[in-house]
Amino acid sequence: MKCIIIEDDKMSREILELFISKHPKLQLVGHFENPLDAITFLKSNDIDLIFLDVEMPEMTGIEFINTLNDILPKVIVTTSHSEFAVEAFKYNVSGYLLKPIHFDQFSLAVKKAEKKENNTNELEFKDNVIFIKEAKIITKVDKSEIKLIECIGDYVNLFSKDKKFTIHSSMKAIEQRFPKEKYLRVHRSFIIRIDAIEDIEDDTITMGAKLIPIGKTYKSQIYKRLNIL
């Protein structure tokens, strides 16, 4: 797992660097004192995990999470206050580490984040067919039948013409499994199949009876992809 550290305290950063170097599944690709620099980095680099100090002067960890909501990888928050950790969990972080951090706690948090990443195994893909596992039932679905993907918290709804499948996964993980040439992320909570678009009016996409909002950060990319005359 490629990871970065966002931490303004040098001692804390050095301890995390030591732990990451000792962990066989982690690869440190950057560390940042300033969360604003990390945001720039994350916009152009694919990262699996962030160790995030929730109390920094330029921007709190919670503000950071809100800013990057759409492209946010797994996050383990680090803090000196347990009450910040409780707050952080509202934002769907993978785990929290209370300073001073011990290696066994660190390993456990990484394992938990890794498990969350692998939850997408509920979807099995073969060519144009997907197998969706809901509870004990595995249903075969033609990938082209999935017109809309909606994220609600830790769950993702996949809509075909007449069915809805709900699985435990993240939007980022699902987005990677569908072909980019046929599907488009239009909002932090929505991915649509391009050929299912009926019309677009006032930043809202009509797909049958559904109206899908276009997220501000996705707008320019969407119009570029749709090659509008």
């Binding site: 303004d8 305290d9 001692m11 050095e14 301890i15 030591l18 732990f19 000196s80 300073k99 011990h102």
Partner: protein, 150 residues
Amino acid sequence: MQPKRNRIETFNTITKERQAGADTNILNLIDMPEKKLVDLTYIRSIAPGNTAFQHTLINEFLLHTPSIIAEIKKNSKANDWNKMKAAAHKLKGSISYVGTPFLIQSVAEIEMYCHQQEHAHLIPALVDQLDNNCQKVYTELATELKKRNV
């Protein structure tokens, strides 16, 4: 959260004596343990046998803590509680690594009083206590490094 009565009384005494012109030394009023102030168990436990890393962390503490204390003192003199709280907060991680619970308590109290601004008159004495205790911690850590021939 209410501060402990005995600590409040102590700091009130110091504040009153200082207002009356006395140069009260806080260390005469606050009992400090006779035993070692610093406990390096945590640093040893995260890097067993890796003395170079242990020394790096100790040096880091010695290098950066004085400037943060200076920042706290500067903001205390300026009665800028928000900046002072932010500066005090910067110490929280590093003081937890060198096993100094009495410093953690001081920083937590400074942060709390800065936030509440209810017992703000106690803050200068608390800052002095923090500074004095940090000086003792620096000495002990420097001695530790010397013992290790660093």
